[in-house]
């Protein structure tokens, strides 16, 4: 696989800077570093002034029970996000296949469904699953009241991501597949989809980040995810700012890891279809 190009996206999009530009870049770097440091200092000073750095706001993080409770919430977040992600993948793929099937009514239906889920805020969908099944006398676990709407919201986006991937597969690939006698379905399954999925793996994983963030409205349905558990701790310890800071860092770390994974996977699978 040594055929991998070393040219990065940045090299392809920007020309190499000349001496004057390099000089300007150095000045810009120094100025922005100073600004950033000043901003951080200002934030810390403000915390100090308002007493947010007082031990009573931070001592709870020295207790094992705090971390265990947050850990349980994190597990809930991961479980919901993975479940919703998996459902969204299958549903998104199905919607895309329906929309590109060429069967008019089915295509139209899938298009409407896709646009609907893409356009409706996921919080609205969560409220829907919170109220409507209950009205109909259905008892739904809070896990599903969260996972389903988050999955539906993501499926609309994923259907479009898949469609973009399918459209990115060159027409010649389809023509070659048809010319050796493959049916439309075989062409889709053996030639188009495998390539389309490789194209969109980075976008798919990026969408998982959105799913993770969507799960933070779990409090609506009282599902014990990371955010909900953090809110419980906030009320019992009266440690609002410190707690939000800590879980923000945790969310950032999770999503950073997901993004890193996407870059890794894209690199691994991308090599095989360089043209």
């Amino acid at each position: 696989m040594s055929a991998a190009r070393t040219l990065s996206m940045r090299d392809a999009l920007y020309e190499a800077p000349g001496p004057k530009t390099r000089h300007r870049v150095r000045i810009g770097t120094a100025v922005s570093a100073v600004v950033v440091l000043l901003a951080i200092a200002a934030v810390i000073r403000q915390f100090w002034v308002t007493g947010q750095l007082a031990p009573r706001y931070w001592s709870l993080f020295l207790q094992w029970t705090t971390w265990r409770f947050l850990g349980q919430g994190l597990l809930g977040t991961v479980a919901v996000a993975l479940t919703a992600g998996a459902i969204a993948l299958v549903l998104g793929l199905t919607l895309m296949l329906g929309r590109t099937s060429g069967v008019r009514p089915l295509a139209a239906l899938c298009r409407v469904v896709t646009d609907f889920f893409r356009g409706v805020p996921s919080l609205l969908l969560i409220y829907f699953f919170f109220f409507v099944p209950a009205q109909l006398g259905l008892k739904m676990p809070s896990f599903w009241m969260l996972a389903l709407p988050v999955a539906l919201a993501a499926s609309g986006v994923l259907a479009e991501v898949f469609r973009a991937g399918v459209n990115a597969v060159p027409k010649g690939q389809v023509e070659a597949a048809l010319s050796i006698g493959l049916s439309r379905a075989q062409t889709m399954r053996r030639v188009v989809l495998p390539q389309a999925v490789r194209y969109v793996i980075p976008s798919l994983i990026a969408q998982l980040v959105v799913v993770v963030k969507d799960t933070t409205v779990a409090y609506v349905v009282s599902f014990p995810d990371l955010m909900q558990n953090a809110r419980v701790l906030i009320t019992s310890y009266d440690a609002l700012v410190s707690m939000y800071l800590v879980i923000a860092v945790i969310y950032i770390l999770i999503n950073y890891a997901i993004n890193k994974a996407s870059v890794y996977v894209a690199h691994r699978t991308g090599v095989k279809i360089i043209r």
């Binding site: 055929a3 060159p170 010649g172 690939q173 023509e175 070659a176 597949a177 048809l178 010319s179 050796i180 006698g181 493959l182 049916s183 075989q186 053996r190 030639v191 495998p194 390539q195 490789r198 095989k272 279809i273 360089i274 043209r275």
Partner: protein, 257 residues
Amino acid sequence: MTDLSVAEKDAGTAPVIELRHVDKHFGDLHVLRDVCLSVGRGEVVVVIGPSGSGKSTMCRTINRLETIDSGEILIEGQPLPQEGRELTRMRAELGMVFQQFNLFAHMSILDNVTLGPREVLGQSKEEAEKYAMELLERVGVAEQAHKVPAQLSGGQQQRAAIARSLAMRPKAMLFDEPTSALDPEMINEVLDVMVELARGGMTMIVVTHEMGFARRVADRVVFMADGQIVEEGSPDDFFDHPRSQRARDFLDSIGGH
């Protein structure tokens, strides 16, 4: 309908490929005008003409990668099916080689060649791979069998693409400008494979700009311009004594001959 001015090799049998009064438009553009062509078994027909003359389009109508507005296309006397299983079966019997090779980018060369036989002809993996390796050997890329297309040169890719078509044991092969996307030094390795195929008795329609190949291999040269077949004849007749002004102008413009 039978007044087709063609000299068939095996007179008496139905032509392998026959186009009767085929017309096609792309919007306002009349790309094929009353095209009639008949290709007998084992015949090699080379189609030449200026770009935009409809020669690629004609080639692509034969396995219905392009639809036609009117007229008829017959394969061994049977009308080309419009859709469904009949169409896929007919396509499987006509090999096609593209200008851009179009090897499946996510598969090894070997998988490219065995996909059709396994999915369409229902061959076992072993059976398909055995024949695939024979073919890859024949076109000289057996050593690249386990690489992906992007790792091969253009010439190697096109030879592998020819092997992919041959794996379906086609009745006829359609070549749509098979060397036009190649670097000059790779053109001959592909033409050599095509010459060998022609010598082996394959029925072929070749759209090309390679006049040397046409002269050497063609049983018949078809000259197209503005969507029409303007002139056809033996290579020597055509290149040495073109009858139409269009053909003379074209041959002058490409120089030589």
